[in-house]
C-alpha cells in the first residue's frame, strides 16, 4: 500500500476511534461536532481511496444534504415555498451525479443555471401568494449555493486526487483550530485581524509544501495556496458569522439542527471553490 493511502486510512481510522470514544463518553465535547464533521470528510476520502470514488462522493453528498437540511430548518419560509425547497433538495443528486461522471461543464452549470432557473419557477408554482417571493427565492438559492455547490467542489477536487481534497480539509482545520484558540482574544485595533491571518499562515504553508509530493501540486503553487487559504478561511468565517447571527445561532444555542453544521462548514465555503478553481486553472486539470 502506498504511503499516501496509508496516511488517509490512518487519519480516517484515528478520527473514527475518537468519534467512537466521543459517542460512548457522552454528548458534550467542546470540539465534538467539528471532529464529527472532519471525520465525515475523511471517511469519504478513505472510502474513495479504498473502494470506489462513487461511494466517497455520495458520502460528501449526504454531508451536503445534512447541511442544507439544517439551513432550511433555521430559515423562515412560507408554506408555499415547499416546491422550491423540494427542487433544492433534488439538485443534490443532480449535481453530484455529474461529479461521479467527471463531466466538468455540466457540474459547473448544473446549479447556477438549471437549479437557479428552476427554483424561482417552482416557488411561483407553489401558491398564489406573491408577497415574499423574492425573499424566498433568495433564501433557497443562497442555501443551495453555499451548502451544495461549494461543497461539490471538494468532491470534484477528490476526483483529481484524494490528497488534493484532503490537504484542503487539513489546512482549513489548522486555521479553524487557531481561530478557536483565539476566539476570546480582544487585542485592540487591527491586531486581532492580523493574528487570525498571520498565525495560521506558516502552518498552512508548511503543511501544504510538506504534502506536495502526495497532492502532486508543485511547490510554488503549494506556497501560494498556503498563503491563500488562511485569508479564504477568514472570509468564509466572517460571512458565516453574519449568516449565523441572522439565523439566531449563538455560541450557547448551537446544537443539532441549530447551526452545528453551518458553524463547522463556514470556513470551507470560500476555500473549497477558490482552491478548486485555482488548481484547475494553473495545473491544467480536466
Amino acid at each position: 500500500m502506498p504511503a499516501q493511502t496509508g496516511a488517509i486510512l490512518a487519519i480516517a481510522v484515528g478520527l473514527s476511534l475518537v468519534q467512537g470514544v466521543r459517542v460512548c463518553y457522552g454528548r458534550r465535547w467542546p470540539f465534538g461536532s467539528y471532529l464529527g464533521f472532519t471525520w465525515a470528510f475523511f471517511a469519504a476520502f478513505a472510502v474513495a481511496e479504498l473502494f470506489s470514488f462513487r461511494a466517497g462522493n455520495w458520502i460528501i453528498a449526504i454531508v451536503s444534504f445534512l447541511a442544507l437540511r439544517e439551513y432550511f430548518s433555521m430559515v423562515e419560509i412560507r408554506l408555499q415555498d415547499r416546491l422550491g425547497i423540494l427542487g433544492a433538495y433534488a439538485s443534490i443528486p443532480f449535481m453530484f451525479h455529474f461529479v461521479t461522471t467527471q463531466w466538468y461543464g455540466m457540474f459547473i452549470v448544473s446549479i447556477p443555471v438549471y437549479s437557479f432557473l428552476a427554483i424561482p419557477l417552482l416557488v411561483s408554482l407553489g401558491g398564489c401568494e406573491r408577497e415574499g417571493t423574492v425573499f424566498s427565492i433568495g433564501v433557497i438559492d443562497f442555501g443551495l449555493f453555499l451548502f451544495v455547490y461549494c461543497m461539490g467542489h471538494i468532491s470534484y477536487l477528490m476526483s483529481y486526487s484524494i490528497w488534493m481534497a484532503a490537504f484542503l480539509i487539513l489546512d482549513v482545520a489548522v486555521c479553524d483550530v487557531i481561530h478557536f484558540l483565539l476566539r476570546r482574544e480582544t487585542w485592540p485595533g487591527w491586531g486581532r485581524l492580523a493574528a487570525r491571518y498571520f498565525l495560521p499562515l506558516p502552518l498552512t504553508v508548511l503543511l501544504t509544501v510538506a504534502l506536495s509530493p502526495w497532492t502532486t501540486i508543485p511547490v510554488g503553487h503549494s506556497v501560494v495556496l498556503g498563503i491563500l487559504i488562511p485569508a479564504l478561511v477568514m472570509m468564509g468565517r466572517h460571512t458565516g458569522n453574519y449568516v449565523e447571527a441572522d439565523l439566531g445561532v449563538a455560541e450557547e444555542t448551537v446544537g443539532p439542527g441549530r447551526g452545528q453544521i453551518l458553524d463547522n462548514l463556514k470556513s470551507l465555503l470560500f476555500a473549497a471553490p477558490v482552491v478548486y478553481h485555482y488548481l484547475r486553472y494553473y495545473l491544467d486539470l480536466p
Binding site: 437540511r69 439544517e70 432550511f72 415547499r82 433538495y89 441572522d246 439565523l247 444555542t253
Partner: protein
C-alpha cells in the same frame, strides 16, 4: 399467545431498525429532556398536533421496552378511509381508536384508555383533537381532563414538537426534510377539577413552546435611523474635547454613546468599550496628524478641509458599524468649516451669504443657480458641490464653549507641544468671533437648541447644566426613545 409475542418482537424490531432510522435520516430529531421519560412505569404523553408525523416522532423517543406497550389515541373514521394505512397503523402503533361524534358510545374510549393504563401501558394523546394550522396551538379537548381525574396517579409528560409542521403540514402530500425539535417537560401530576387540569396542561405546553430552543429566529427588521448628534464647538484650548468626552460618558448611562473626537470612543452604560477598527478613522487620523504639522495657514487649509470631510463621513460609518444611541462630536465638521470660511474670509461675508454657504454644504442647493455670487466668493464651495462632497450633517444640539482668546492661548502654552499655525491670540480671537456668529445664525435658521458655556469657569459646574440641557432637549425627540424602537 406465542404469535402475539412474536408480533410484538417484530413490531419493536421494525420500529428500531426501519422506522426510527428513516425518521431520523429524513427529518433530524433533536430531543431535549428525554431524561423525563426515564423510570416512569407508565405515562400519558401529550403533545401539540400539527402533522401526521407527530406520532412517529413521539414513538422515536420512547425507550425500546415501551414501544410495544404504547398506544396513540387516533380517530378511526379518518384512518379507515385508507385501508392499507389503517392496517399498517394497527400493526405498528396499536392505536386506541375513537369514533368522534357518536353519542351513546361516549365513554367507551375513555374506559379503554383507562384499562390500558391500569395494565401499565402508556398512552399518546393529542389534546387538541385534530391537526391545527402550522405553528398554532388550539384549545385542548375536555376528555383529557376527565381521564386525569379518574387516574390522578398517572404522570403526564408534556412534549412540544416543532418542525413536523414544516416536514408534513396539513394538506400537503410530500414530506420534506427539516429538523424537528422535540422538547420534553417534567412529568405533571394533576389533582384538580378537569377544567383546571386542562388549563394547567395548556399552560405547561405553551411555556415549553416559548422556551426558545423550539423557536426559530424570526425575521426582524431593525430601524437604522441615524443616532442624534450633539456637537461641542469651541476654539482650540477651550476644553471641548474634555467636555465632549465627559458628555458622551455620562449620556451613555441609559444606553450607548459614541464620541467622535481625535479618537473614536464608544461608551456603553457609562463604560468605555473596545471598538472594532474603522479604515476611514485610520485615514482621518493620519490626515489629522499631517495637518497639525503644517507650518502656515495656507498649507493647513487643504488637509484640514479633507479631514473635516472625512470626519463627517465618519458619522455615517459610526452609525452603521457601532449603532450607538447618541453621537457626541468634538466640533461639527459643517460648522467648523463655516467658521473657517468666516475666518479666512477676506472680503467680509454678510450673514446671508454665510447661511447660503452652510445650506450648500448640507447639500441643499435649492434656489441657488450655478453662478450665484456665493460660489464666486467662496471658490472651494463650488468645488465641493461639484465633486458631490457637500452633504454634511447638521447636529441636533449645539454647545458652544466660549473662552477669551488669551485664556485659550495660555492653556495651549501650558499644555506644551508643537503649536498649530492658527494658535495665536489674534487668530484665535477671530476664530472665536466666527464661531459665535456661525452658531448664532445656524441656530436661528434651523431651530437648533444651543447652549453657551463659559469656558473659563470650572468645568464640573458647567457639566451638570450641560447634561440637563442635553437630556431635556433629547427627550423631546421621539426618535431617541429607545424603548419604542422596534
Amino acid at each position: 399467545m406465542n404469535a402475539e409475542r412474536l408480533a410484538a418482537l417484530a413490531r419493536v424490531l421494525l420500529h428500531l431498525a426501519v422506522l426510527r432510522p428513516l425518521v431520523r435520516l429524513y427529518c433530524g430529531v433533536h430531543v431535549i429532556g428525554s431524561i423525563h421519560l426515564h423510570d416512569l412505569p407508565r405515562f400519558i404523553l401529550i403533545a401539540n398536533h400539527n402533522s401526521h408525523l407527530d406520532v412517529l416522532l413521539l414513538f422515536s423517543l420512547l425507550p425500546a421496552r415501551d414501544i410495544a406497550r404504547t398506544h396513540p389515541v387516533a380517530d378511526e373514521l379518518y384512518f379507515t378511509r385508507h385501508p392499507m394505512l389503517f392496517g399498517l397503523m394497527n400493526f405498528l402503533l396499536q392505536p386506541v381508536w375513537i369514533r368522534r361524534g357518536q353519542a351513546g358510545r361516549h365513554d367507551d374510549p375513555l374506559r379503554e384508555i383507562r384499562g390500558l393504563l391500569e395494565r401499565g401501558h402508556n398512552i399518546i394523546l393529542f389534546p387538541e383533537g385534530t391537526r391545527g394550522r402550522p405553528g398554532e396551538m388550539q384549545a385542548f379537548k375536555s376528555g383529557l381532563g376527565r381521564l386525569v381525574q379518574q387516574l390522578p396517579s398517572v404522570p403526564i409528560v408534556p412534549v412540544f414538537l416543532s418542525g413536523p409542521e414544516r416536514v408534513l403540514p396539513k394538506g400537503s402530500l410530500v414530506p420534506l426534510p427539516f429538523w424537528s425539535q422535540v422538547l420534553l417537560g417534567p412529568p405533571q401530576f394533576c389533582t384538580g377539577s378537569p377544567r383546571d387540569t386542562i388549563r394547567h396542561l395548556e399552560n405547561t405546553l405553551i411555556e415549553l413552546s416559548r422556551s426558545g430552543v423550539a423557536r426559530r429566529n424570526p425575521r426582524k427588521r431593525r430601524r437604522l435611523a441615524p443616532a442624534p448628534t450633539l456637537a461641542v464647538l469651541g476654539i482650540d484650548g477651550s476644553g471641548k474635547s474634555t467636555v465632549s468626552r465627559s458628555l458622551a460618558q455620562r449620556l451613555s448611562v441609559p444606553g450607548s454613546a459614541c464620541l467622535v473626537s481625535d479618537r473614536l470612543e464608544f461608551y456603553e452604560r457609562g463604560e468605555l468599550k473596545p471598538l472594532q477598527p474603522l479604515g476611514l478613522e485610520e485615514a482621518r487620523g493620519m490626515l489629522s496628524r499631517y495637518a497639525k504639522q503644517a507650518k502656515s495657514l495656507a498649507t493647513y487649509k487643504i488637509p484640514k478641509l479633507a479631514e473635516l470631510l472625512l470626519r463627517d463621513r465618519l458619522l455615517s460609518d459610526v452609525n452603521r458599524w457601532y449603532a450607538p444611541q447618541l453621537v457626541v462630536q468634538d466640533g461639527s465638521p459643517l460648522l467648523n468649516m463655516a467658521a473657517w470660511v468666516a475666518l479666512y474670509d477676506r472680503e467680509n461675508l454678510d450673514d446671508d451669504t454665510l447661511l447660503k454657504a452652510i445650506a450648500v454644504l448640507t447639500g441643499d442647493n435649492s434656489g441657488l443657480s450655478r453662478n450665484d455670487p456665493v460660489f464666486r466668493q467662496i471658490p472651494e464651495l463650488a468645488l465641493l458641490s461639484r465633486l458631490g462632497l457637500a452633504h454634511l450633517q447638521l447636529p441636533r444640539l449645539l454647545f458652544l464653549l466660549d473662552l477669551p482668546a488669551h485664556v485659550a492661548c495660555a492653556r495651549i502654552t501650558s499644555r506644551g507641544g508643537p503649536r498649530q499655525p492658527h494658535e495665536t491670540e489674534e487668530k484665535l480671537g477671530r476664530l472665536r468671533q466666527a464661531y459665535q456668529r456661525v452658531v448664532r445664525i445656524t441656530a436661528r435658521k434651523w431651530n437648533i437648541p444651543v447652549m453657551v458655556i463659559e469656558g473659563d469657569r470650572p468645568l464640573d459646574e458647567a457639566l451638570a447644566k450641560v447634561l440637563n440641557f442635553a437630556q431635556a432637549n433629547l427627550e423631546q425627540e421621539p426618535s431617541h426613545d429607545h424603548k419604542s424602537a422596534d
